[in-house]
């Protein structure tokens, strides 16, 4: 279980102002909100990529920021993080990129054959043909393939939590649907807790057990997809209607 407790974060201006949120074990949790409302910032506080100014993140009751100093390292081994633009290491092959997802100590103990097997298995899970991509560099892959390699890197370490930062951004409708099916399938097969930040409201509402919406750095909504659809909160409604219209237009443009 991930508990965000009164998270505050400001850069030049306040981004998060006292966000309280709980992601339950085993659920798929969606986080929506207009751009710049701190969704990715909140996600990054989970593994210390961004440190909150105030507040704390608790993982299974243990504090990420105020507990054992080594806890953050252990947290990172338990969590797979899928970046918005895949963030693959340019100078490494797909095989090396995926192997980076295996804990350093484990990787040192492993024989190359075993590491290769793990990478192979992870690539198959994300519907990539390992034989074709294993030795390629990220620059030789399409956008959709890069995302899948990024997902393979996140799952190869067998995490029990997966964090997805806008995994479908920049993809065409076909790839968006494929990646969403993949997220749904992986979360079920791997029995992980998932937290997904997305602009694809419809996809998120279909996939997620519960969703939340951030607005101006605060939590505007938290509940089931059904509650979100029925919400009469004007801020939620305005966002959902605008996002729906933008998604429809975006899809039309991509098809053209």
């Amino acid at each position: 279980m991930i508990r965000f407790r009164r998270i505050h974060k400001a850069f030049d201006e306040p981004v998060l102002t006292g966000v309280d949120l709980v992601v339950r074990e085993g659920e798929m949790f969606g986080l929506f909100g207009p751009s710049g409302t701190g969704k990715s910032v909140l996600l990054k506080t989970t593994i210390g990529l961004i440190v909150p100014d105030r507040g704390d993140v608790l993982l299974d009751g243990e504090s990420v920021y105020f507990g054992d100093p080594g806890f953050l390292d252990r947290v990172r081994r338990r969590i797979g993080y899928v970046f918005q633009h895949a963030a693959l290491f340019d100078s490494m092959s797909v095989f090396e990129n995926v192997c980076m997802g295996i804990a350093e100590d484990d990787l040192r103990r492993m024989k190359r054959k075993e590491a290769c097997g793990r990478a192979w298995e992870a690539l198959e899970l994300v519907n990539l043909e390992p034989r074709q991509v294993l030795n390629k560099l990220p620059a030789e892959l399409s956008g959709g393939m890069k995302k899948r390699v990024g997902i393979a890197r996140a799952i190869v370490g067998r995490p029990d939590i997966l964090l997805w930062d806008e995994p479908t951004t920049g993809l065409d409708p076909v790839n968006t649907a494929a990646v969403e099916r993949l997220i749904d399938r992986l979360s079920g097969e791997l029995e992980v807790t998932s937290m997904i930040v997305t602009h694809d409201i419809e996809g998120g509402l279909i996939m997620c057990d519960r969703v939340a919406m951030l607005s101006a750095g605060t939590l505007q909504f938290c509940g089931t997809p059904e509650d979100f659809r029925k919400s009469t909160d004007p801020v939620v409604r305005a966002f959902a209607d605008r996002a729906g219209a933008e998604a429809a237009l975006d899809n039309q443009l991509k098809v053209i």
Binding site: I47, R76, I79, H85, A87, F89, E104, G157
Partner: protein
């Protein structure tokens, strides 16, 4: 902070020897041509200018001393360092800066890796190893080029050239030259890595930081160079 993190990664033996060798290849072996071309030209120019000034006024064998001392004390280490600022320093800042703005650095943290141990320490170790070696090569090649130039344009034979060189030679000069090279070899990667790690603002940010890094490294080299004589040549 960077220095502390680098020391910690070295103490914990978290540095990959394969990556150090890779960096030695990139920073050292691949820099040999440009360093040697620069050294040859520096040797020739020193010899030519010396010839222009000394002919008819001072015994020409003094040329040997002028060329050798200039190349050993100043031109060898400083020109090599300035060339490496462009060749190595700019590359490191741009590479790490791009990793920073494209979230690759965050990705390293997310998979539990230490970017300092993976990216900074091997480059710093490689810098401290390769810059003195490249400087020693530049010194030797620069002197040989200066002597050949003096022979071809002034008719100064190698015996007279090296007779002049020995007149003012101190063994300490080579220690001084290599000490400079070690310090420059530390300064270039440390500054370029520091700048790369603090890059922000997308592609434009990488460009801005790389330019600032090159300016800062060049100035640092020249300031350190000015500090060496009062510290080590008194």
């Amino acid at each position: 902070m960077l220095g502390w993190a680098v020391l910690r990664s070295m103490v914990r033996l978290r540095v990959s020897s394969r990556e150090i060798l890779n960096q030695i290849h990139i920073m050292g072996v691949q820099s040999i041509p440009i360093v040697l071309v620069t050294a040859v030209l520096a040797g020739i120019v020193t010899s030519q200018q010396g010839g222009y000034q000394f002919t008819g006024t001072i015994p020409l064998y003094v040329m040997g001393s002028v060329v050798v001392e200039s190349v050993v004390l100043e031109l060898g280490p400083v020109l090599t360092a300035v060339v490496l600022v462009g060749r190595i320093g700019a590359r490191i800042t741009a590479e790490l800066g791009t990793m920073k703005v494209s979230e690759q650095m965050d990705a390293l943290y997310s998979v539990g890796r230490d970017p300092v141990a993976m990216l900074a320490t091997p480059r710093i170790i490689a810098g401290v190893i390769v810059v003195p070696i490249l400087t020693a090569m530049a010194v030797i090649v620069g002197i040989i080029a200066g002597q050949i130039s003096a022979q071809l344009t002034l008719g100064l034979g190698w015996e007279a050239f090296f007779y002049g060189a020995r007149l003012f030679w101190h063994n300490w000069d080579m220690v001084y030259s290599l000490t400079k090279a070690v310090v420059f070899g530390l300064a270039i990667p440390v500054i370029s890595i520091h700048m790369g790690f603090r890059t922000k603002g997308g592609a434009a940010g990488v460009g801005r930081t790389t330019t600032a890094s090159v300016m800062f490294m060049t100035l640092t080299i020249l300031i350190l160079d000015a500090l060496f004589p009062p510290l080590l040549l008194q």
